[in-house]
């Protein structure tokens, strides 16, 4: 076998920048990547390391400023994804490219339809071809079902079948495990291995090191738009990869030294019921005591968001039909969110960009967000209203620089100019500003770099040890497992299982998350 043809993909000195002048951002600087044909190659790096840009260039969605792309030994320069697809490259995007109300078959044939007489879609032929593929790769799926009726894991299967239908030789998968249960992840991995054994080439973009080690043959690490290095997976370790990703040594698994010591009840919900179009809560009851972390596990969309809304805005009939919400000893079932914000409670929202920050406003105003009634920041002038105390905001920001290691240490800059990790630190700094006795931490490390994850986890443990009751909602099972003193599992709007620390494995959790476990044990 000669050297050239054994490589499926080669990126040589790819550079790409966006913007111009001072706001110019270098997404890729001399990125190099070699992917052997018939291998699974993982590309890891933190948010903003340039993984996505490099893949978009490879897939023809963006063009490189300089550098070369070689596919199966030939130099190529795509103008659009169609050309990339014609050469056998296919991509499974992180957010699926599937239209919910349309059928599996329609989603799969889109763009490569066969017509019979009079230009009518030949669905028979397409369906039989699809059935054949389903059978050959043991990926069963009903061609006539609407996408929106399928679980996420099956939707992803449809995405893979879409590429098989086009007979793609190179599969690019962008964060494919983000929304899957452990069982679905295992099924995905065995499918991918099978495709590799058939001679196809798999590129997987991820930030989960455990999965890289479990699945890939080789790894390439990117940091700040540059290739740090490539290594055979069997010679790599999570510690080494994390160090490459961050640029310094990182402690991956933060453990609490102290045992949890639950005190008084800080949050208690009883029989929460919500029944609207898609949102559901089915008799959810739950309590969080002082000094414990209660983790909520579940595939996204199984009632976690609804639970959080019921806690923050119980008065709103859209958040709750019936049930009782108690916070810090008050019955808040008929309180508005602004009343609740006056209690010593903190909320780290689910979607930081949508609900947690004003991206175009200054960091100071972002510190104020949600605390606009707090006497430390706003002086009431009788008959006029509140006036923001800018000096107090400035001081709070300076405290955040020191106590929370918020960077850059610059006042007045817009929230948008902070990195994901620093945005989250700002949110944490703000929510800890009035020493919450109860804290909701939702996806606390989503979109946060490996280095900052460690920091955030320590901070949560410290708050717990000081007596804060914490409700942790996360789609990262490892995070749930390593932080929580108790774990509850939500499935289709109901609490289906509860476990205590150390009494549960990721597999058991996954089973409960997919509804396969009723009851559970304490």
């Amino acid at each position: 076998m000669n050297v050239v043809s054994s490589l499926a993909i080669e990126l040589r000195n790819i550079s790409k920048s966006f913007g111009s002048g001072e706001s110019r951002v270098f997404a890729n600087t001399d990125v190099n990547l070699s992917v052997r044909r018939g291998s699974i190659h993982a590309i890891v790096g933190e948010n903003g390391a340039g993984k996505s840009t490099a893949m978009k260039i490879l897939f023809g969605m963006q063009s490189a400023d300089s550098g070369e792309v070689h596919v199966f030994g030939k130099s190529v320069r795509w103008r659009n994804p169609t050309e990339a697809m014609a050469s056998g490259i296919g991509m499974v995007h992180q957010h699926f490219m599937l239209a919910g109300p349309h059928t599996v078959l329609e989603n799969i044939v889109l763009g490569c339809e066969n017509s019979s007489a009079f230009g009518i879609l030949d669905t028979k032929k397409a369906a039989s071809r699809l059935r054949e593929l389903c059978e050959r790769y043991s990926m069963p799926v009903d061609p006539d079902r609407a996408i929106e009726d399928l679980p996420v894991g099956v939707q992803q299967r449809v995405e893979i079948l879409k590429l098989l239908y086009r007979d793609s030789q190179v599969f690019i998968l962008d964060e494919p495990t983000a929304v899957l249960t452990p069982q679905e992840i295992e099924a995905l991995f065995s499918n991918l291995r099978r495709l590799r054994d058939e001679g196809r080439t798999i590129l997987i973009i991820t930030h989960k090191l455990k999965e890289v080690l479990a699945l890939s043959d080789e790894v390439t690490v990117l940091r700040q738009g540059k290739t740090v290095g490539s290594i055979q997976t069997k010679q790599a370790s999570a510690e080494l990869l994390a160090e490459w990703m961050v640029g310094r040594k990182v402690i991956l698994d933060v453990k609490s030294e102290a045992e949890s010591n639950p005190g008084v009840v800080r949050m208690k919900v009883t029989d929460l019921v919500l029944d609207s179009n898609h949102a559901m809560l089915k008799n959810v009851s739950l309590e969080v005591r002082a000094g414990e972390i209660v983790g909520v596990a579940g595939v996204e969309g199984n009632g976690q968001s609804e639970l959080l809304r019921a806690l923050l805005d119980p008065k709103n009939p859209l958040s709750l039909n019936s049930g009782k919400v108690e916070l810090l000893g008050h019955d808040v079932s008929s309180w508005s969110s602004s009343q609740i914000r006056r209690l010593q409670v903190g909320f780290m929202p689910e979607d930081r960009h949508r609900d947690g920050m004003l991206l175009d406003e200054s960091v100071e105003l972002n510190i104020l967000l949600g605390l606009q009634n707090h006497p430390a920041f706003v002086s009431e002038i009788p008959g006029v209203g509140g006036v923001i105390r800018k000096s107090a905001l400035k001081q709070a920001l300076e405290r955040a620089w020191v106590d929370y290691d918020l960077r850059p240490r610059q006042s007045g800059i817009p929230g948008r100019s902070l990195s994901g990790g620093n945005q989250q630190k700002l949110v944490i700094a703000r929510e800890f500003e009035h020493h919450p006795e109860f804290l909701v931490a939702t996806h606390p490390t989503r979109g946060v770099d490996v280095g900052a994850i460690e920091w955030i986890h320590r901070k949560l443990f410290k708050a717990r040890d000081q007596g804060t009751g914490i409700l942790l909602v996360s789609s990262e099972l490892d995070e749930i497992l390593s932080l929580s003193d108790r774990i509850i599992v939500m499935f289709q709007g109901a609490v289906v299982a509860e476990f205590s620390r150390g009494n549960v494995s990721a597999q058991q959790l996954g089973l409960a998350m997919s509804g396969g476990l009723k009851g559970g044990h304490a």
Partner: protein, 292 residues
């Protein structure tokens, strides 16, 4: 019996313009582009049809002129909202104003008045059966196009998940642009039906918000061809009924009639009730109104 038959006949005739416009709206909105400007397209179509028929003494030339005028206006609309990414509701409203201004201006130039075109001779008008049959064939054709052909699949994906369509290698901009163009041509045909078949001339504001009623029918019909067709028939029936009820005496006071203004409200009242009562339950294309 005769009464019923004639009511049925006028329902069909009066529904035809709505059906053309609603089918235009269907194409545009299924491809993801809101089409508030159907009303304006109907105006220019109705006017162009009357002018061309008067000059060339052929209703077919009149229809062709309507299509051309509709295409021109929808090309302007499509250019504003697709490549230039203007807000679709605002741009559509502007197009409606433009049409409401252009038509009387041209009328003034041609005929010296801003109201109506001269009357079209009886033998040069469109026979009522033409638009009715045409509208039904159109509905069947579009239903088939959307459900069973590759192009229909592209249109549906453009309105539902345009990025999925693009990632499958189909040009979303082109699909949307052509859908909006076709929508304009169809709505203009609806206008031509008004001036050439239901009436004897184009008179000022003769569209009387039918473009918006077509939009309401589209929404009531859940953005699907046959249900939207049924909704158009409902509105057409309301209109036929209001024609019939005009001048009918009150049963308990034989020498008095309901004021005609109240009766004329009927089709709009039906529209309002339908929209208020049912819109919440129908589901729009997910990417409707979004830029790509």
């Amino acid at each position: 019996m005769d009464e019923m038959l004639s009511l049925l006949g006028s329902t069909l005739r009066l529904s035809a313009p709505l059906i053309f416009a609603a089918m235009g709206g269907l194409l545009s909105e299924r491809s993801g582009v809101i089409h508030i400007a159907l009303e304006g397209m109907m105006m220019v179509g109705g006017f162009a049809a009357a002018v061309a028929t008067l000059s060339f003494h052929s209703p077919l030339v009149g229809c062709a002129a309507a299509v051309i005028a509709g295409l021109a206006f929808s090309a302007l609309y499509a250019a504003l909202v697709i490549p230039f990414r203007a807000n679709q509701v605002v741009a559509g409203t502007a197009i409606n104003f433009l049409a409401a201004g252009v038509v009387p201006s041209v009328s003034k130039l041609l005929y010296g008045n801003t109201g109506s075109t001269p009357s079209i001779p009886l033998d040069e008008r469109l026979h009522w059966a033409g638009p009715v049959v045409g509208a039904i064939v159109l509905v069947a054709g579009l239903a088939l196009l959307l459900a069973k052909t590759p192009v229909g699949l592209w249109i549906r994906f453009a309105g539902e998940h345009p990025h999925a369509l693009a990632s499958a290698g189909v040009n979303v901009i082109r699909v949307r642009f052509l859908s909006v163009l076709a929508a304009g041509a169809l709505a203009a045909m609806g206008g031509a039906t008004l001036s050439l078949s239901l009436s004897s001339a184009y008179s000022r504001n003769m569209t009387a918000a039918r473009g918006f009623m077509a939009l309401a029918a589209l929404i009531f019909g859940k953005w699907k061809a046959w249900p939207a067709f049924a909704a158009c028939l409902l509105f057409g029936f309301a209109e036929a009924l209001q024609n019939r009820l005009q001048g009918v005496a009150l049963p308990w006071k034989p020498d008095e009639t309901i004021p005609v203004q109240f009766i004329q409200m009927l089709p709009y009242l039906v529209t309002l009730v339908v929209l208020a009562g049912f819109v919440g339950r129908s589901r729009a294309p997910k990417a409707l109104g979004t830029q790509f």
